[in-house]
Subunit: 340 residues, 2 copies
Amino acid sequence: MQTNHQWLIAGRPEGLVKESDFKWRESPIPSPGEGEVLVRSVYLSLDPTNRVWMNEAESYLPALAIGDVMRGLVIGVVEESRHPGFERGDLVQGLLGWQQYSASPGGALNKLPKGLPVPMTAFMGLLGHIGLTAYFGLLDICQPKAGETLVVSTAAGAVGSLVGQIGKINGCRVVGLTGSDEKCAWIKELGFDAAINYKSGNVSESLQQHCPGGIDVYFDNVGGDILEAVLNLINLRARISVCGMISQYNADQPAPGPRNLANLISKRARMEGFLCTDYSNRAEEAFTAMIGWLMQGKLKYRVDVVEGLENAPAALKKLFDGSNNGKLVVQVGPEEGAAS
Amino acid sequence: MQTNHQWLIAGRPEGLVKESDFKWRESPIPSPGEGEVLVRSVYLSLDPTNRVWMNEAESYLPALAIGDVMRGLVIGVVEESRHPGFERGDLVQGLLGWQQYSASPGGALNKLPKGLPVPMTAFMGLLGHIGLTAYFGLLDICQPKAGETLVVSTAAGAVGSLVGQIGKINGCRVVGLTGSDEKCAWIKELGFDAAINYKSGNVSESLQQHCPGGIDVYFDNVGGDILEAVLNLINLRARISVCGMISQYNADQPAPGPRNLANLISKRARMEGFLCTDYSNRAEEAFTAMIGWLMQGKLKYRVDVVEGLENAPAALKKLFDGSNNGKLVVQVGPEEGAAS
């Protein structure tokens, strides 16, 4: 008899998420009911927002209970279908959780396209929630214009690295903030005009040095002090895309916000939050553009694959100490079995 | 010989602005040069932003130097014109400063219309910067829809009281925050659905009680803790018009911002700053609408007139302790002399 393995939420994390906040469970592989599909997980996406999902308070998704399977975005292969829209071998994506097998209503799954000249991990790193976030969070929320200065935080991360490249494609001067010299070197390779290691030196001074004409667009993944430093340098009618506030996610006491929000007034600036799911119905537009840029060599991404579902809790911490290199995913099972 | 009187900036205020931050000076009445106009001040507008203008740092206008005449918006009568666009008796408005007489380039003055069935103070309380701020800050920045819940801070103030009434005209449920029971009673008279005295009781609980369906639109004049309380209650796609941050203006150390800015993400909400001067070219649209509402009795305003330029510094403090009742102006001289 085959066994399913799952990670459950064992408790609410205090401060930085840790492995003991999760509990490993063996259970039988579920049987799909009428209208359901049995999916075998191949890749599990690890994202900063996972930490938010573990909190007791509801955010943009319902709160999880202690003992629930941890929520997670999964790419998997259909093993058995009792839904007319799916058949064995289909590659699907959905919030299937931190588990090897799941029985999901067909309506909760997206079928991934076949025959694209990209590896399966591209659906995690580019042609999925990461790509939608970068593409629309920059182009729709911020409307960058050629010649404007764009600043991106967590610039070597999955989203940030795409944002910077899409900014370059749109003619912006792009300045990225990241947490190591090695990552600085990588984003310079990607074409960023300047890279700031926010862990060494004074961020405000570095921003001032690399943004001599001020900041027109800020793609914010972190909040906190870096947001404050940026707000001191914004230009008239600056736009700030509020994508994430990773500096806050592990805080027991939420940290105070920037002391200079009043700069929004004198600069007539705008801060706007968004979620990639708001743009699901425009996904084709983004993916078509990004596949084009990928083929032309204008867009690069990298995927940091951690082997084995059992390593997911330890891997999640990498997002918060910055030790991941590119889009962080867990390989839960082999790719084989998907119809190509 | 007639004498001009002026208030100069004597020093940078520390904390709450005080009378000793200003210096009284007698000087000769200036002679207008070629292209200039001699204006006798009738009303001087006192606004929270005056405090910002006294700081050493430049904001949206150039910083003033110690010894400069204090900047201020004035309505006055043309006494002598050496500019072809103006003649003796014209009623004009401009940043003419805290003084009885000024010689100003004609291009820096707006001529006020004649023959409107409103008192001269209406150009201070409604048909000027206050009206533009309320009208466009609400309608253009926030785009309120009928049935939505609008929260306004400093709701009994010059701008806030108009914002609430314009919200009601547009079909919103309007909740106002103000600093006394008497002011609460007044905004209820104006048609606000609910009034919260933020000085008595818990603001978060009061907001929750009076906004059972959450907050769709927030017109923010104060920043600080009230902004944080509002952010906890915003609905999906809420809009926040950042008009002022009066809670910060007298602080020696800028206070931290709200700890819950990440709510902008989960609620896909927008915060946007603006200045009324951005809408100068659309003034006619606003004033036509507001005169109409005034005539129909749908819009009320009140003006708190302090007699005598010598009392301006003491009067300015009223804005920060909330002891003014309506738009605060100083009557610098008699209305007579204006051609009607």
